[in-house]
Amino acid sequence: MPDAPIGHIIRNARQRAGMTQTALADAMGVSVSYVNLVEHDRRRLKGTRLNDVTKILGIDSQALDGETEGKLLADLEAVTSDPSVADLSLDRAQVRALVTQHEPWAKALVALYRAGQRDQGLIAAFSDRLNHDPVLSDSIHDMLNASTAIRSVTTIYDEGGDIPAAQRDRFDRILSEEADRLASVAQSLAGFFERAERPGTSLTAPEEVDEFLYDRRNYFPAIEEKMECERAAMGDTVIPSSGALVSRLESLGITLRRSPLHALPSGTHRLTHYDRSTLMLGEGLPRSTERFEIARRIAEKSATDIIDAEIDSGSYLTSDNARDRARRALYAYAAAALLMPYDAFHAAAETKRYDIDALAMDFNASPEQLCHRFTSLRRPGSEGVPFAFLRANAAGYLTKRFPLPRLPMPRFGGACPLWAVYAAMQTPDLRHRQLAEFPNGDRFFILARATRPVASGFGQTLPSYSLMLACDALNADRLVYSDGLDLSSAAQAEPVGPTCLLCPRQNCAHRQEPSVRAG
């Protein structure tokens, strides 16, 4: 499969270190031509040679994992696929060169493209508002009527002729009244636009949070450390007991109560209610959900400073909406860190080969909580399998997403209908596994499972979701779910795509809209 370009990083680091290719080759114990191929991304460094290079050149191993470059490539793919530049016949081969040779320019291009997309959304929102807002509509109607009366009367005056005194007085009064009316409308409009908020801001908040989490690789060491201290204070057990969680909650001034779902103040479509001094849990909730809610509230009370500092450092988070979303995501992260301590969870995941059912029993956690936690196993030196994660609702809309560099995920709406995340909805509780091949030849192992809809009473069906994990096919043998599957490069893989718009498989029977990509 094509790899993210990292040769330029090695070349730059070598030049900074004042080494020739020959010197580096000697230090690595390889030929000069091999070093040259590596620096031009025609050979991929792995294993000990990768470690050798990082040590010799004194660079962080994460700098060579290609994630940043891979993400940039995927972002530029979106730019080059945009219909607005379709006529330019952009050479996609040059995109790679742009990333390796002019990375700041590539980032600038992506940033400008996103700004353009945001502004388009803003314009559409304002246009919609101008066309449909009742305040504007009434104001315009008043303005046109006032100007009609003024224009008509002034024309009568301009034309001269005999106008009886009483009628002239009446016309003078009309001009005065309508002038006042126009002034009033103008003031009203000025106030309206001063109050108007930027309606497009909320459209980009989830995207900003995605970028923030991705930029940090969904790993926050300060939060891990803080929640490790919390866990240690609760007792000796690696995984906090439910009793210890409740005791800690109460010590933080929060009372725990249980209530029938329909009696929760937050309504029948929520499972819990929290008002800062009382946490109400709906009766019949899974134990994993109860534990997670308690852990989340503990995090809110004990890790606020650390999480606020993380939010403040997130340069992607430009709006209040995005910061609030990111804050909620990090409280959930902290809850997971408390319930599934990093070292223990990482060791168990590797030992049990990411067996969700086995880990669910070990950690009293739900499949969704486990999937989330898998994506945060990115501590340098003890990394887990790099996963992409998706959650789709019953309408097929992607409600959570965490991408991988070579596995782009649509920001809005749905993905390729051939992804296992959708097939899983048809047979809840079954695990769907899929060796998927994308149009560019990339292969991913996909695991999906949908939860069965749960009703807590008549008319009180709780939301159900389909969850999907995906990893590079090269890592699939680390998962118990790949057992029995042929993962070799010669194995038959299911052809899938990203979205119809970006997929070049023109003859696909599942196509819903034309592609902007040539076949």
């Binding site: 109607h141 008509s152 009568i156 002729g161």
Partner: protein, 123 residues
């Protein structure tokens, strides 16, 4: 022959200026400030021309026009639809309902007088 005109307009000041310019042009003018009154006046007096605003209280201009076109005794009334919206959809609606002419606010005095006289001469 003198043209009789009914102005259906809830904006009192516009109605007054319209009345003035049309009377100065020799028309006999009456005024109704809402849709139901306009329909009653049309049935009672059968004017040659109805200058009909769209945004009328009680019964909007399009409803008035629809009723007029559905009653045989009112069929001869020429209707000039006047709107402050000026949207193409209003024009299409007016055409579909059988309006004889369409003007947007703010109108030109000379143009609206000429149009009313033209319509009056055809009845």
């Amino acid at each position: 022959m003198t043209t009789t005109v009914l102005i259906a307009e809830d904006e009192q000041n516009i109605a007054e200026s319209l009345r003035f310019i049309l009377e100065r042009a020799g028309c006999i003018v009456r005024h109704a400030a809402d849709g139901e009154t306009a329909l009653a006046e049309a049935r009672a007096d059968k004017p040659d021309v109805l200058v009909l605003d769209v945004m009328l209280p009680s019964l909007n201009g399009f409803d008035v026009l629809k009723t007029i076109r559905s009653e045989p005794v009112l069929q001869k009334i020429a209707v000039l639809v006047l709107t402050a919206k000026g949207q193409s959809q209003d024009r299409q609606t007016a055409d579909a309902l059988g309006a004889d002419a369409f003007m947007t606010k703010p109108f030109d005095n000379a143009a609206i007088v000429a149009e009313v006289l033209r319509l009056g001469s055809q009845t």
